[in-house]
């Protein structure tokens, strides 16, 4: 039997990349894309390949680097989450016109749900906007094949290709057989051609025309049935209803139709939604009275079908306009359409009773929370205590969960802690009002998008306290290294970039480094910093709150374990539960007071500093 591995979807994508001879892979971590680059690196190491990999500082940087490699003739790829493609959009739009020599694959992972994102935006529309082909896989194996297909297509037509795996591809696992891997052998070369590589608007018009010609040709190729686009119409048969689906929902609907044994409902599966396979879709539509479109997350296929009069989908209210199309939702959607059209319904009815039953159990709501021992908890506790009346602008990362401690009031996008702080400052200052503002941003987020906003804030005389939560890692997405710690993606040594020097270089004159585990010390520094922002000759005050992530480096984060217990002095004031919000602290009904959950307590001992009754004490072991 051939050797098979159980592979994460992102691992299958990584396998496709090395199998396609990709010579450079760049990425900025973001759920659900984060595992692609580490999986590439582990393949590269295992096979001894010469593939350049990097964690780039942001997605635009990642795309620009990969683009340059493709211009130099090499196959390259960059990986990011869907909102990361917004950051890289400037590059994408322009790269589409200029085109590439070696294959260039842009992997942008969508998050219908959303499970771990600000939006449910649909990468396919971004590809449509940029006028580049987009591939939409339904499972890990198809994603792997599409990587190789996309790389070939990109190279043949000299056009960037977008792969859009959704979270149920990225974080699915499937058994997959790896094939022998060929190393990319292309040597870098750059042929000067300013009218293309540095095109001015006059040449851009020509490049746009060329792009349109490429798209037309690719569209024709996509249009006939192929490995990714197919239907199961029977010859000369006519149907009351046909389903058009792409990506993950196409896998869901194939399972449902098979289980229900419904060969009276044909399926058109579309893996290449743009350029749209018009001829294939027309052929399918002509055999069906009605079409139901099931796609994630938006309405690309629905918009691109030429005759929309017979189409049911989101635009007609038949498919939910937000949220993930999980199997029970798809089942319900199709079943309702079957009934509406007077066709045989599915075998099973939706079980509303069981949902009622679960609802009536009043199960505890589990909200995500900062880990026990997390240094961010200490920072937020200190910030709220020192400057309680402030507006707390914050950012994207684990520390967004500071909202549980009342320490996060806003979260817009990467870097907006700083830009919104300056925006708020000017809005209130304009009215002659003094409004304290504290911005919190993580180290990785600051490296990603902090400096432009900070330069701007300093330049335009904004005043606020900036706290950089430096836990020396990109924690939320799975412990990727940051430029600050001197380690690269593959574990090799790197030049470590100093946050202090960047902040200073941006023109900030007040910089303090604190350890948030010293709550009292941080409190004092915060108050001093706030005074500086209010003083006549003051400005922006930056505090670097530095302590390692408790998950990434437990030993360094908690060098001395402090076992705590709650004494009978606890008055159940609940101050610790509400203001410190550590998952290891809970109200014990049997004892009638707060207690410690020993299974999850990190032994950081911070709560000793928090309890107003001094009822949390260290356990003295004899």
């Amino acid at each position: 039997m051939e050797h098979e591995e159980i592979m994460l979807g992102n691992g299958a994508i990584a396998l496709g990349l090395v199998e396609s001879g990709c010579q450079m892979v760049t990425s900025y971590p973001g759920t659900p894309s984060s595992e692609i680059l580490p999986e590439v690196i582990s393949r590269v190491k295992a096979e001894g390949l010469n593939t350049y990999t990097e964690w780039s500082t942001n997605e635009k940087v990642a795309l620009d680097n990969a683009f340059a490699a493709a211009v130099a003739g090499k196959r390259s790829a960059c990986c990011m989450k869907q909102v990361g493609l917004n950051v890289a959009a400037d590059s994408l739009m322009s790269a589409a016109y200029i085109g590439n020599i070696g294959g260039l694959l842009i992997i942008s992972c969508d998050d219908p749900g959303p499970h771990s994102s600000q939006t449910e935006q649909d990468t396919r529309f971004m590809a449509r906007l940029a006028k580049v082909p987009v591939l939409d896989p339904g499972d890990p194996q198809e994603a792997r094949e599409m990587v190789k297909f996309g790389m070939d297509l990109s190279e043949e037509f000299q056009i960037p290709v977008v792969l859009r795996p959704a979270i149920r591809v990225c974080h699915a696992r499937q058994n997959i057989s790896p094939e022998p891997i060929k190393t990319g052998e292309q040597k870098a070369s750059f042929e000067k051609n300013p009218s293309r590589w540095a095109a001015t608007p006059k040449f851009r018009l020509m490049l746009h025309g060329e792009l349109n010609r490429k798209l037309k040709e690719i569209g024709e190729r996509f249009s006939s049935a192929n490995h990714f686009n197919f239907h199961n119409l029977e010859h000369d048969r006519h149907y009351a209803l046909g389903i058009v689906a792409g990506g993950v929902p196409s896998a869901v609907i194939r399972d449902i139709l098979a289980e229900e044994g419904r060969n009276d409902i044909p399926l058109l599966k579309i893996g290449t939604p743009f350029p749209f396979p018009d001829a294939l879709a027309d052929e399918f539509a002509s055999a069906c009275d009605r079409l139901l479109v099931i796609e994630e997350t938006d309405t690309l296929i629905e918009y691109l079908l030429r005759d929309r009069n017979r189409v049911l989908g989101r635009l007609t209210g038949h498919v939910p306009e937000q949220g993930e199309l999980v199997p029970e939702v798809v089942y319900g959607v199709v079943n309702r359409v079957l009934k509406e059209l007077g066709l045989n319904p599915f075998k099973r009815e939706e079980d509303i009773a069981v949902r009622e039953l679960v609802k009536n159990l009043e199960l505890p709501v589990r909200r995500p929370s900062l880990c026990p021992g997390c240094p961010h908890r200490a920072s937020f506790y200190a910030i709220r205590k020192a400057i309680p009346k402030a507006i707390f602008t914050s950012d994207i990362g684990c520390y967004t969960l500071g909202l549980n401690l009342g320490g996060v009031d806003t979260c817009l996008d990467m870097g907006a802690a700083i830009t919104m702080a300056s925006g708020f400052y000017h809005s209130f200052e304009q009215d002659g009002k003094k409004q304290p503002i504290v911005a919190t941003i993580g180290d990785s987020t600051f490296f990603h998008s902090g400096t432009a906003g900070l330069l701007n804030a300093v330049y335009n005389n904004a005043r606020f306290v900036l706290v950089i939560l430096d836990n020396e890692v990109t924690a939320m997405t799975g412990m990727q290294p940051t430029p600050g710690i001197g380690i690269r993606a593959d574990g090799s040594e790197a030049k470590s970039i100093s946050l202090e020097r960047i902040v200073s270089g941006c023109g900030v004159e007040y910089i303090e480094v604190v350890d948030p585990y010293d709550l009292e010390g941080m409190n004092t520094v915060l108050k001093k910093a706030f005074e500086y922002t209010e003083s006549r000759d003051g400005g922006i005050a930056a505090i670097i709150s530095r302590h390692p992530c408790v998950i990434d480096n437990h030993e360094k984060a908690i060098p001395k374990k402090i076992k705590v217990q709650v004494t009978d002095d606890c008055t159940s004031c609940n101050f610790c539960l509400e203001r410190f919000e550590c998952p290891a602290l809970y109200y014990d009904d049997d004892l009638g007071r707060v207690n410690i959950n020993r299974h999850i307590c990190a032994d950081c001992g911070l709560c000793i500093q928090v309890c107003p009754q001094k009822a949390i004490v260290e356990v003295k072991e004899h």
Binding site: G138, R168, H171, V252, D255, V354, V358, R366, L370, G478
Partner: protein, 187 residues
């Protein structure tokens, strides 16, 4: 073969992913195709964690509500949260105090749907053996005693032995065996 749908649930940090990996690898070693769906990212920070495992020729990774043949819960309330996944005649295996399981008012539901509901205090068992973080193995051992689903006790045990890191192998097998013993006593 007909697809076997399994939902595994609990809280972040309880070892759902490892438990899923064991069953998936055992199924693969037996020559089955499989699809799993995992929880990553924000949801992992102490919240509810669910993973889906489909053994057979399914195309999609998610189990549809009402079609799970098995639900394995490392935490009792998380088990109840996932009740909608249970199919008629399914097996429901939960880490819970046997004296208090199941929660009041649920027996009629289980009986009406012909659901086999079984619990073991896996947390206590793991604590007694000095490995509170390995309660997932205890539940898996307990489950394996009933021969429910396409994998046998021996197949699951062999897989644990082959995929566990060396330093955890002994303790993992001890917990698995202890859970198995608890289950065997109920047969």
């Amino acid at each position: 073969m007909e697809t076997t749908n399994i939902v595994l649930c609990g809280l972040g940090g309880q070892g759902i992913l490892f438990m899923t990996k064991v069953l998936a690898q055992a199924a693969l070693d037996k020559g089955h195709n499989l699809m799993c769906a995992e929880t990553h990212g924000m949801a992992q920070r102490g919240g509810s964690v669910v993973s889906h495992l489909r053994i057979g020729d399914a195309k999609g990774s998610l189990v549809q509500e009402g079609t799970a043949h098995l639900v394995l819960a490392l935490e009792e309330n998380e088990g109840y949260r996932n009740l909608p996944f249970l199919a008629r005649g399914a097996g429901f295996y939960v880490n819970a105090d046997r004296r208090k399981f199941p929660k009041e008012g649920l027996k009629p539901f289980f009986e009406q749907k012909e659901i086999r509901f079984r619990s073991v205090d896996a947390g206590k068992l793991a604590m007694e053996l000095g490995a509170p973080m390995s309660l997932n193995l205890a539940l898996l051992g307990f489950f394996s005693a009933f021969g429910d689903g396409p994998l046998t006790h021996e197949e699951i045990r062999t897989t644990i032995e082959s995929i566990t890191a060396k330093r955890f192998r002994d303790i993992n097998l001890r917990l698995f065996d202890a859970g198995f013993e608890k289950g065997s006593m109920l047969l």
